[in-house]
């Protein structure tokens, strides 16, 4: 016990009060922390209302979490029909189960299984969400909330990764015309604001396809985001490609492999492993940027929160809605960034 106390004291002396300046800094930090934490805690917990059913139940000076409870279903599923929500739950269970399965390191044929799931899962999830073949159809306009946020991020990511790899290879190409094209594409999409791209996709896409062909509203937003993310993914993959010594592809060529085979079998697997942390970071950025789709009236998590604010029965819940939606984004992104950090450390150990 005394041991712990002395070590604590030693820590304080070394890391908090080493010099007079240090002591001043520490005290100022303590004061600032207290000034911020006290009202925050008051609003979030102490003075907040948790029980009840209507706005009238919120009598405290703090947050009215009743609002979040009343609207929770909508925050998660949007306007997805209540009797069909099991489909979304099923998808969640499936995705978690697959992730857990793949996390088992000793699993035989883990790589092949992952590749198989990557091929099978996206269409399966799409079918479960949308319906058809016996399941009642739920149109994309009824999708919303957290489910939609994750859907947009994951599907835009799935589109962006292959495109990004192609672009990165193009940018590293020996052929100047192809290199130029890749650079132009990448720099264009990296140079414009995402909210402008989402607008572009939602307004221009229907115009440039032959008349009579409709492009789903949600698909447009996903495509727009995917184009931007592909450009960023390309840069992440390029970092991985540059880290592969030239000798690798030269050796492959010497063994008689042509460019496509050498790239797919030798260079890419190594490059992608190195690029994985950077690609995860791009995915985090994508997840955060999905919040911008509300500009074209697609009700993702933030969009649903804003729509809920327009309800006259729950006026003045702005802060609650934003804090709740913001925390969910934060939790997801923070978890992912930790995962990315672990990947990075593991890559560094190799």
């Amino acid at each position: 016990m005394t041991n712990r106390v002395t070590s604590l004291l030693r820590f304080a002396r070394r890391r908090l009060f080493a010099t007079p300046l240090d002591a001043v800094i520490t005290l100022v930090c303590c004061w600032a922390l207290a000034r911020i934490a006290e009202p925050l805690l008051r609003w979030l917990v102490i003075d907040a209302t948790f029980r009840g059913a209507t706005r009238a139940d919120c009598t405290g000076a703090g947050a009215c979490w009743v609002f979040i409870r009343a609207r929770f279903g909508q925050f998660v599923y949007g306007f997805y029909p209540i009797d069909q929500r099991w489909r979304v739950d099923l998808v969640a269970v499936l995705v978690i189960a697959c992730t857990a399965l793949l996390a088992v390191k000793r699993l035989p044929h883990r790589g092949a299984l992952a590749a198989g799931l990557a091929v099978v899962m996206p269409p399966l999830v799409l079918f479960l969400f949308y319906g058809g073949f016996g399941l009642p159809v739920v149109e994309t306009r009824d999708w919303g909330g957290l489910m939609l946020t994750l859907f947009i991020a994951i599907y835009a990511g799935l589109l962006a990764v292959p495109l990004g790899i192609v672009l990165a290879l193009g940018r590293q190409s020996r052929l100047p015309a192809i290199r130029t094209l890749a650079v132009m594409f990448i720099e264009f999409w990296r140079g414009v604001p995402i909210i402008a791209v989402i607008f572009l996709a939602s307004l221009i896409l229907p115009l440039i396809v032959p008349s009579g062909i409709g492009v789903d509203r949600l698909a447009r937003a996903v495509i727009g985001l995917a184009l931007v993310v592909a450009a960023y993914m390309a840069e992440a993959v390029r970092g991985g490609l540059q880290a592969i010594p030239k000798g690798q592809s030269e050796a492959a060529t010497a063994l008689g492999l042509r460019y496509p085979a050498a790239t797919v079998l030798i260079v890419l697997p190594q490059a992608l492993r190195i690029a994985l942390p950077a690609m995860t970071n791009e995915f985090i950025a994508l997840l955060k940027n999905t919040s911008l789709v509300l500009i074209v009236s697609i009700l993702d998590l933030l969009g649903v929160a804003q729509a809920a604010l327009a309800d006259p029965a729950w006026v003045g819940m702005t802060l609650e809605a934003y804090v709740f939606a913001g925390s969910i984004y934060w939790l997801l992104c923070f978890a992912l960034s930790r995962a990315s950090l672990r990947l990075e450390r593991r890559a560094a150990l190799r």
Binding site: A70, R71, Q74, F79, E139, R141, D142, S202, L203, P206, L207, S211, G214, R217, I295, V296, S297, Q306, A307, A308, L309, A310, D311, P312, V315, G316, T318
Partner: protein
């Protein structure tokens, strides 16, 4: 012109079978598409109580939504067969132009330049709106000119933005106009104290005011600075579809003028001796077929949605939280501006 020609044709061919008549109809890709897909695609406001507003179950209501339902009843015989696309102020035109919606019923002001340059046509007036302001009661401002020096929150790119700028510039009064992407953002900023006033149409304000935290502390000015007739919008081209939309609205107004409502419509259909009522409800003549619809299309509209007055009272009038008097939106015979050409 088209209507008169069609009516003349109907008189001549009154006895011909409907099939022969259908072949004479001008092609209407929009109507064909609606019938093929089984629902009407309607562009509405993101959320304006009284006009178009979705509750927490995603069910839409409002006077603009009612009109979408009326069109669905007219075309498909079922007012429930509508799908709504909520649109922001900026999005509404591209959404209509690119064919994502069949019509826009979204408290949109009819203006010359929109008609001339956007490739759209306005199909009548379903709400006479007048722009005014909501202010804090304690500010003491009673009429628009008292707002000299005030900050005014408004949705970017709306007619209100331009009207207010013009109105104050003309009177050499200085106001600060703060533009937001959506009406909801603008009213939230007003509520937070960013602006002294929020401007919109009288009807829209009545709906928006209930979104304010302390509703009682705000007053809506009675003096308006503009006349903004609002109504459903379609793309240019496809004349037959345009006629369907136009005459659905006319039919709702005519039903009120003729005393036909959702409660007495069956009785009127069976017993009325009034020739116009009989034509309206499809007992006499084949007006519906002239447009490629069933003859009882207006009957379906009135039966399922109601006449104009019923829709008004239920959504924005005394039967609603907005409690707007009929005012200009009353039949011309009762001192309002509503008028419909005859069903002949």
């Amino acid at each position: 012109m088209f209507i008169r020609g069609a009516v003349l044709g109907a008189a001549v061919m009154g006895l011909l079978p409907a099939v022969a008549l259908a072949q004479q109809l001008a092609p209407s890709p929009t109507l064909d598409a609606i019938k093929a897909r089984g629902h009407v695609e309607c562009g509405v406001h993101l959320g304006l109580p009284g006009f178009s507003f979705a509750n927490d179950k995603g069910e839409w209501s409002g006077i603009d939504v009612d009109f979408c339902r009326a069109v669905a009843a007219a075309v498909l015989g079922d007012a429930g067969k509508v799908k709504y696309t909520p649109t922001s102020v900026q999005q509404r035109w591209p959404v209509l132009q690119s064919g994502q919606v069949d019509l826009l019923s979204r408290n949109t002001t009819i203006t010359f330049s929109r008609n001339a340059s956007l490739g759209v046509n306005f199909q009548g007036i379903n709400f006479y709106e007048g722009q005014t302001f909501v202010v804090r009661a304690k500010s003491g401002a009673k009429e628009p000119k008292d707002l000299d020096g005030a900050a005014i929150c408004v949705a970017a790119g709306s007619t209100e933005e331009k009207t207010a700028a013009d109105w104050y510039a003309e009177r050499k009064l200085k106001v600060t106009i703060v533009n937001f992407q959506k009406n909801d953002d603008a009213i939230a900023a007003y509520d937070a104290g960013r602006c002294d006033a929020y401007t919109a149409g009288l009807g829209a304000l009545a709906g928006q005011r209930i979104k304010l935290k302390q509703t009682g502390e705000h007053v809506i000015m009675t003096e308006t600075i503009s006349n903004d007739p609002q109504g459903p919008v379609t793309r240019q081209g496809d004349e037959r579809w345009q006629a369907v939309v136009r005459w659905t609205l006319n039919g709702m107004i005519a039903a009120e003028a003729l005393g036909v409502n959702s409660r007495n419509v069956d009785e009127m259909k069976a017993k009325s001796a009034n020739a116009e009522v009989r034509r309206l409800l499809g007992v006499e003549g084949n007006f519906g077929q002239l447009l490629g619809l069933s003859d009882d299309w207006i009957y379906q509209v009135v039966k399922q949605v109601g006449n104009y007055g019923e829709s008004y009272e239920r959504t924005v009038g005394m039967g609603s939280p907005l409690k707007l008097a009929r005012g200009k939106n009353e039949l011309w015979t009762k001192g309002g501006l509503l008028y419909t050409p005859p069903f002949q």
